[in-house]
């Protein structure tokens, strides 16, 4: 039996009929067409499906859609504004932090979440902040450099490659 839920995604109100066993990632991707949220493992291991739910980054494959009833959610599609890409997105493009790109939406949202909570993270804090997001291409270094460049000046020096 489907159940009706209401939630806000990327500043837009949605009313969606969902199966009780349906995950948030499947609802976003297959029902709402928000395919920027990627599905890499469906087990909560890889972090590709990361979205921001009520201010916290979550693996949307581990959240049931009905658990998101009443929630406020940001997906990768919600980061861009009329002014263009979010600074984290810009930094990922400019610093070469993207290769295959499959982990990028989740990685960018984890980074945004980290910077929202801690605008001047150290490199160690950045590495911890994205430790739940696996990337098989980059070795993380250019990702860390990109996030660092967005963060305010940190205790271990100014952002790399100004």
């Amino acid at each position: 039996m489907k159940k009706l839920i209401q939630l806000q995604i990327n500043d837009k109100q949605y009313e969606v009929a969902v199966e009780p066993n349906q995950t948030l990632v499947d609802m976003l991707r297959y029902q709402l067409g928000l395919s920027g949220t990627k599905k890499g493992c469906d087990l909560g291991d890889c972090g590709a499906c990361t979205v921001i739910m009520n201010g916290k980054s979550v693996n949307s494959c581990l959240v049931l859609a009905i658990q998101a009833n009443g929630a406020t959610i940001t997906t990768i599609e919600g980061l861009e504004t009329e002014k263009g890409y979010h600074p984290v997105q810009k930094a990922f493009v400019e610093k070469g932090a993207i290769q295959c790109g499959f982990c990028s939406p989740g990685m960018i949202l984890s980074a945004k979440c980290l910077l929202d909570e801690n605008p001047a993270p150290t490199e160690a804090e950045i590495r911890s902040g994205i430790a739940g997001n696996l990337c098989r291409c980059t070795g993380y270094q250019k990702i860390v450099e990109a996030i660092k460049s967005v963060g305010e000046h940190t205790v271990d020096g100014p952002p790399a490659n100004p």
Partner: protein, 791 residues
């Protein structure tokens, strides 16, 4: 250095904006009207006879549109190397591994398809299964493939020079061994496909693949269609690393289901299916004996290797040859003997993974060189500098080092790491180690015997003259090839990167063998460069007629026509152009130089579409012996790496502190992408050195078929990597470029092994170096030390 306008910079990747915003479409992001969903029935047994298959209940389930087994698919054999085509879409006689494919279903939704799969009844007669090399080669072992006694799927026996004679002249002969565990490519994107057999009788296959060309040929051969009726299109791909470098059963099953139903059929592997499909790094057992002179001169290498290959051949024939041939360099080695056996077992099939075949061999030998250096009282860097090859050297197995910045790489990491200050001087528990490596820039030959071009490229100038459209069938899988080819096209044409638009990964665009063996930068790059130069020549020819200036006295640079001598009067051209663009606000001004846009518009008016074509096929390469095709390449990249680590001797846990890596990639096309490839390769090497291991139970089931228990490094596990680009000018590469993607992994694992020894004085011969293994090795060493002191 020749001045470049586009290449050799760190231009942002052309695909990065779409990938950062979620707009980039991967296979699972795509759907088509009326699309069905497919699911596969796979074997729960490692080895069993199929007695009967009953699909009647599955077919009756509402929503099911087709159920196919070998009865429908036929049994055309396929694989990677035509000499070992040993797979069929669906098993017809027996299953040889868990996950072997038996049937597939297409239904209106995935849930129904999976339900239908569960309704297919298969009667099996379980057979004894073999999982290890010893079990598989035992005299009484059941054969997995009837034609291969003792389950030896492939064997290689090569000798270059005379190893035994050379050993007689040696002052020191050293033997050691190394084994690894199976690895998984573990790309984050699960492979998938959508097959659509359309109303014109064309089979369109959208697939997450590294090799559209080989998939096209395999699909055509197995499903008995003309190649022209099969179109393979690669959307964005979320990583490959080797396991997506051949056609798979899912693609073929989806095609068959679409042909049966006339509807598009989508199928995606789940994570467990990825592990069962395998096709990643083999398990290797290397034993090497090296003879040297007192002064460190390497004289001879005797090398024996066993590969646990799994149920089918896949890339195995290439893998077994690479495991030997890639030791021919980068050191001068006059005598080399290689004997190897690839063994079929009832485990998932192994294939190619980054550094194909050569990674564990390299690790074994580079560790042994350090052992030899120690016994001779030489510094590890000294012994390598003494033996390394230089540009122009040819290995004993006929690999031609047409450019080789080995010395520059070694010196760069030595100086960056402050090797001399640290080697042998770090406190106990901390160590520093180094190693080198080299790798092909593409295989000299296609996987099937053919005189085919390895890459063709078309560049069409738009009729307004402002944009160059590049069409290549090459595969962007994350490595940055689209950006590299757009940069090469822009450089060759003499126009800014913004004026190039590129489409790739579609077999309708031409032939390209795809993304494997680090081939695209050199091979597709050469074809792209030739196409760009061809288009440029055509524009300049028309201009030559219009202006009465010889072609050779003109060039195009940064989007502007450059006249080498006196500037002619081109006002007639400009007037014509502006007249045609009345109302446009960006027409060139009176005093502006003549632009590419004007010139190529004039060329279009004179000749119609200006289409430049390029093609590439390697020149005649060395080696006439059996197996010479594996290892020969138009060019070789090389690298050196110094790594520092700490070992917690109470737990055996290794922490990597620092890495300095230098790679000779020829001319770097995109400097940021080169660094990114180096960092990514080292990440994969460290994962393999320290954590990554596919584990099996005693039934042949994968125990850790997920990304939590199959442990790759996270951001917290990775050290900072100093990526140093060493440039040489490769004569066979486009603008002097050669490989970086795979070769960069080569020195990583042995540098860890050597640094570990420096830290705690323990030599390991089994990977990965998990805390448990390191702890046990430390305890063994302590016991050994205690025994020695008692004596």
């Amino acid at each position: 250095m020749a001045g470049f306008d586009v290449i050799n910079t760190g231009a942002p990747r052309i695909d990065a904006p779409d990938k950062s915003s979620g707009r980039a479409l991967y296979i699972d992001d795509m759907s088509m009207p009326g699309m069905l969903y497919g699911a596969m029935l796979q074997s729960p047994y490692a080895h069993a006879k199929i007695i009967g298959i009953d699909t009647s209940a599955a077919k009756k389930l509402p929503g099911v549109k087709a159920v196919v087994t070998s009865a429908e698919s036929g049994s055309v054999k396929f694989g990677v190397s035509p000499a070992r085509y040993d797979e069929t879409i669906f098993c017809d006689d027996k299953v040889r591994q868990i996950g072997d494919n038996i049937a597939a279903v297409a239904a209106t939704d995935l849930e129904t398809a999976m339900k239908a799969v569960s309704l297919i009844k298969v009667e099996y007669e379980e057979l004894p299964a073999v999982f290890t090399i010893e079990e598989a080669m035992a005299e009484d072992a059941l054969l997995i493939h009837d034609a291969f006694p003792r389950n030896i799927g492939a064997e290689v026996h090569q000798e270059f020079g005379n190893v035994e004679e050379a050993f007689k002249e040696c002052d020191l002969i050293k033997t050691s061994s190394l084994t690894n565990k199976r690895q998984d490519c573990a790309f984050i994107e699960p492979p998938g496909c959508i097959a659509h057999f359309d109303s014109s009788g064309t089979l369109n296959l959208f697939s997450s693949t590294q090799v559209p060309h080989y998939v096209q040929r395999t699909v055509a051969m197995v499903l008995k269609l003309p190649v022209g009726k099969v179109r393979v299109i690669k959307p964005y791909v979320g990583g490959g690393f080797g396991a997506k470098a051949s056609a798979n059963h899912m693609e073929l099953a989806a095609c068959l289901l679409s042909m049966k139903t006339g509807k598009p059929v989508k199928m995606i592997f789940n994570r467990e299916q990825i592990f069962l499909h395998g096709r990643s790094r083999h398990q290797f057992f290397h034993t090497m004996t090296t003879g040297v002179k007192k002064d460190g001169t390497i004289m001879a290498l005797k090398h024996e290797c066993y590969l646990n290959g799994g149920a089918y051949s896949s890339f195995g024939i290439a893998t077994i040859y690479y495991a030997g041939s890639l030791l021919g360099g980068p050191y001068k080695l006059p005598n080399m003997k290689y004997d190897a056996y690839r063994i079929y077992t009832n485990l998932p099939t192994c294939g190619a993974q980054r550094g194909h075949g050569g990674v564990i061999a390299r690790a074994c030998w580079e560790q042994q060189l350090d052992m030899i250096a120690e016994e001779l009282g030489m510094d590890p860097i000294e012994i390598r500098l003494k033996n390394m090859m230089v540009t122009g050297d040819v290995t004993c197995n006929d690999l031609n080092m047409s450019s080789l910045g080995m010395k520059e790489c070694i010196e760069a990491v030595r100086d960056t790491s402050e090797w001399k200050k640290k080697k042998g001087k770090l406190p106990k528990g901390k160590g520093i180690g180094m190693a080198c490596g080299f790798f092909v820039s593409g295989a000299g030959f296609p996987i099937y015997r053919s005189d085919t071009y390895h890459g063709t490229v078309i560049i069409k100038l738009t009729e307004d003259g402002g944009t160059a459209l590049v069409y290549t069938a090459s595969a962007e899988i994350g490595q940055g090839s689209d950006t590299a080819f757009a940069m090469i096209a822009a450089e060759a044409l003499g126009i800014p990167l913004e004026c190039v638009r590129l489409a790739s990964g579609d077999t309708d665009f031409g032939v390209d063998l795809g993304a494997y063996s680090s081939r695209q930068t050199l091979m597709t790059g050469q074809a792209t460069k030739e196409a760009g130069e061809d288009a440029k020549r055509q524009v300049l020819e028309v201009l030559s007629q219009e202006l009465n200036v010889p072609v050779q006295d003109m060039d195009i640079k940064k989007g502007v026509i450059v006249f080498k001598n006196e500037k002619p009067d081109f006002s007639a051209i400009r007037t014509r152009y502006i007249k045609e663009h009345r109302g446009w606000t960006d027409n060139p001004g009176v005093d502006d130089p003549l632009t590419f846009r004007e010139a190529s518009r004039i060329a279009f008016l004179a000749r119609g579409s200006i289409v430049g074509t390029g093609k590439y096929k390697p020149p005649e390469l060395g080696g006439k012996f059996k197996g010479a095709a594996v290892g020969t390449s138009p060019a070789y990249g090389c690298s050196a790496l110094v790594l520092e680590l700490s070992v917690d001797e109470e737990t055996g846990k290794i922490t990597i502190d620092k890495v300095a890596d230098a790679h000779d990639c020829g001319r770097a096309i995109n400097r940021v992408s080169v660094e990114a490839q180096m960092q990514g390769a080292i990440f994969m090497g460290l994962g393999e050195a320290l954590y990554e291991e596919v584990k099996f139970d005693n039934k042949g089931r994968v125990r850790n078929a997920d990304l939590a228990e199959y442990k790759m490094p996270t951001a917290r596990d990775m050290p900072r990597i100093d990526a140093i680009i060493v440039e040489s000018n490769e004569p066979n590469g486009p603008f002097g470029a050669k490989e970086v993607g795979e070769g960069a992994i080569m020195p990583c694992i042995p540098a860890v092994l050597n640094a570990l020894y420096d830290a705690i004085g323990v030599r390991m011969n089994e990977l990965p170096l998990t805390p448990e293994r390191v702890y046990q090795a430390i305890q063994e060493a302590k016991k050994c030390l205690a025994r020695c002191s008692q004596d």
